[in-house]
Amino acid sequence: MDINDPQLMRSIIMDHYQYPRNRRECHDHDCKSVHMNSESCIDDIMVYVKLDHGVIKDFRFTGQACTISTASTSILSELVKGKTLDEAKHIIMEYRKMVNLESFDAETLEEAIAFSNIGKQANRIKCALIGWDALSQIIAESEE
């Protein structure tokens, strides 16, 4: 994927915003959920994660959110489903580097590289992280 192709990057975001993947509830008893809403963003989303023996079996989300929040969470859902916690943590770490405008491993992030410039728009960074922060939180709690 060419990170310097703005048309491609835009189409990734729009596609995930207009047709978000894994946007549905999960009320299984083994589905952990976390409610995220940010001060600087009117977003209000629920993230549901099903873990099984150190593997992310399912990742879903629901709620009202902006393009950046919705698309970034949708992309995340595809990226981490089926991954081990360690793999997921690695992906999240690389993503955080990217969002902070540090150098990162584009390979690992796949479509998430569409947000490689979000760090320049400080006021939307939180939106780009909302789903990712939720997953970090669930992983951290599972490891306590």
């Binding site: 835009r10 729009m14 009117i42 959110a65 902006c66 393009t67 410039n117 728009q121």
Partner: protein
């Protein structure tokens, strides 16, 4: 017509830019801009008179105490109240809380507090809390389809269990002016007390508390060209005296002793414990002078002209949905099809235009308009037709692609 050049020249912020474009400020329902006279007051006091009030022990303190009390006189005149009916607060939220908690002891089990789905969290939440504590009930006025209070259902709504009616005078989302004259008249015939949230009305339409006969009214200074940190709680003398003071401390008491016997000062001093926002309160007087110099009637008229212009210009835009087309004021809420409100707001910001996105703290509003998130443009005295036209042009061409392009 207003002399807009003269008015705009008084607001230094209108000479600044946002995102490299001349600032077009349409978030007036959140807070208004400040005229130079207000800024000067604050700067003067901080630079040469920054002493505490309420004591004439030395000349500076005496002078600044006087200015503080002059602000009270100005506010009283502005809404046609008596000077001892004016309590200074830190804002509408503190004022509305002071009323709800201060009247709590009048509530008995089963009593009803009547309000609306369009009210602001700062008016609803305190009443929800005291209602819980006293086992009282919150009821909501029936609204018409567009979200106005249904006057034909008023008689039913004001049933014998209703004790307090608390409602927003002008909704900060729908921009409707509630028919408070009718409600107050009927309420008083039935011995009910009426509390108005004036956050969006006092700076926008002429207010006469005596003519209106309202029992309580609270609002914020920052929404009427003053600095932040100051607000006003008006209460009819007899009702202020019924209000329990919930913030206690220095300045509010005449005497107290070890046995816990406390004698509070008289109204309104009793409610003003602690050091207030001195500069902001004094600057309120200059803000009122500015509003008076324009004339409240002209301000409202001007807002309506801008709003009508905006609505007529966008009425053919298929991609824009307006939720309050019959708004009575300068507040318009709308959405762009397929674009989340905050994305649209961010796009407008990149063109120098400030509008608000969200639920505007009126979290029951979805009962009325069916959606939770909207864009809100709110016009005020210093806005121009040109600025509205600019908003219209940007909205004409807005697309999801363009919104997304800000981030790639």
């Amino acid at each position: 017509m207003l002399d807009l050049n003269h008015i705009r020249a008084q607001f230094p912020i209108l000479k600044t830019k946002m995102s490299g474009k001349p600032l077009i400020y349409f978030d007036n329902a959140a807070t208004t801009l400040k005229p130079q006279s207000v800024i000067n007051d604050v700067t003067r006091i901080l630079s040469s008179q920054s002493v505490n009030i309420h004591r004439g022990d030395y000349q500076l303190s005496y002078d600044i105490s006087n200015e503080y009390e002059e602000a009270r006189v100005s506010v009283a005149k502005f809404i046609n109240a008596d000077v001892n009916e004016i309590v200074f607060t830190s804002g509408a939220t503190e004022g509305l809380n002071a009323i709800a908690y201060g009247l709590e002891h009048h509530l008995n089990e089963g009593d009803v507090i009547l309000t609306t789905h369009t009210d602001h969290a700062s008016n609803l939440l305190p009443w929800i809390e005291v209602a819980k504590r006293r086992k009282a009930k919150i009821e909501y006025f029936k609204l018409t389809e567009e979200g106005r209070i249904d006057l034909s259902k008023l008689d039913q709504a004001l049933h014998s269990k209703v004790k307090f009616i608390t409602l927003v005078h002008v909704s900060n989302v729908l921009g409707f002016i509630n028919p408070v004259e009718d409600i107050i008249k009927m309420a008083h015939q039935r011995n009910m007390v009426v509390i108005l949230d004036g956050a969006q009305s006092v700076a926008h339409i002429k207010m006469d508390v005596k003519a209106l006969d309202v029992d309580f009214l609270a609002w914020s200074g920052h929404k009427m060209c003053s600095p932040t940190g100051v607000g006003v709680l008006y209460g009819k003398k007899e009702w202020l005296e019924q209000l329990k003071s919930i913030k206690l401390g220095g300045g509010s008491n005449a005497q107290f002793n070890e046995q816990g016997e406390v004698i509070l000062k008289s109204v309104p001093t009793r409610f003003e414990a602690g050091t207030p926002a001195i500069e902001s309160t004094i600057a309120l007087k200059s803000a009122l002078q500015f509003l008076d110099s324009v004339g409240m009637h002209h301000i409202h008229e001007h807002e309506v002209i801008l709003k009508n212009h905006f609505l007529s210009k966008i009425q053919d835009f298929k991609h824009i949905t307006v939720y309050n087309p019959s708004t009575d004021t300068g507040i318009v809420i709308f959405n762009v099809e397929g674009i989340f409100a905050q994305d649209a707001a961010a796009y407008l910001s990149s063109h120098g235009i400030a509008v608000r996105a969200g639920n505007h703290c009126a979290k029951l509003i979805h009962h009325v308009i069916g959606v939770t998130e909207t864009l809100r443009a709110s016009f005020y005295v210093y806005n121009t037709i040109d600025e509205v036209d600019h908003l219209v042009e940007v909205l004409r061409d807005i697309t999801l692609e363009k919104c997304v392009d800000l981030y790639i």
